[in-house]
Amino acid sequence: SQKIEQNSEALNIQEGKTATLTCNYTNYSPAYLQWYRQDPGRGPVFLLLIRENEKEKRKERLKVTFDTTLKQSLFHITASQPADSATYLCALDMNTGNQFYFGTGTSLTVIP
């Protein structure tokens, strides 16, 4: 089965800087790699996804890269704001069934 690793330590950055979160996986590359945001006491919220054959995807201040050779996705938040503080989860959609595989998440704190 897939093992998915995200930054094990919490990430603290200064407001206005770019936050970079990492998602590494083992075994087979997913058809789609997804990123979710989770605030305390709430369910995860879908942010964006990237396909296996895409290198980069952008949505407003968010950018995701996907390197199937390294088996890694990077999630960037540019011009970070305190409101971006949350836990960010990556998830793999292998597209061979109906299951998704989630990482443990990275806690991001943006310091004003």
């Binding site: 089965s1 998915i4 789609y32 997804q34 979710y36 006491g41 709430r42 369910g43 995860p44 919220v45 879908f46 996804l49 396909r51 989860l89 998830a91 959609d93 597209n95 109906n98 299951q99 998704f100 989630f102 990482g103 443990t104 998440g105």
Partner: protein, 115 residues
């Protein structure tokens, strides 16, 4: 929020008692999921459903059963709760886009404590 509600939102129960959690959706989605979330483990799939009366096991299904008698409701039952089942439980639906990709949308969660 894709019209997903969960009940109860919080529950404290004793070891050995049966517990049923309910997930309700209002948008007629075919696929529904139950996850548990624990520190250090992230979200782990318990069971999922791909239609009325059609369910399948996930990664951590032991000790859990599910039922789906209507499209809008997906029930998770702990037949005899144990302390190891203390967790936060999330229900989710998935939406398939015309591109073929799928996205998941989650309910607000149920915090279950087994004493």
């Amino acid at each position: 929020d894709a019209g997903i509600t969960q009940s109860p939102r919080h529950k404290v129960t004793e070891t050995g008692t049966p517990v049923t959690l309910r997930c309700h959706q209002t948008e007629n989605h075919r696929y529904m999921y139950w996850y548990r979330q624990d520190p250090g483990h992230g979200l782990r799939l318990i069971h999922y459903s791909y239609g009325v009366k059609d369910t399948d096991k996930g990664e951590v299904s032991d000790g859990y059963s599910v039922s789906r008698s209507k499209t809008e409701d997906f029930l998770l039952t702990l037949e005899s709760a144990t302390s190891s089942q203390t967790s936060v439980y999330f229900c989710a639906i998935s939406v398939r886009r015309t591109s073929g990709s799928k996205e998941q949308y989650f309910g607000p969660g149920t915090r279950l404590t087994v004493t």
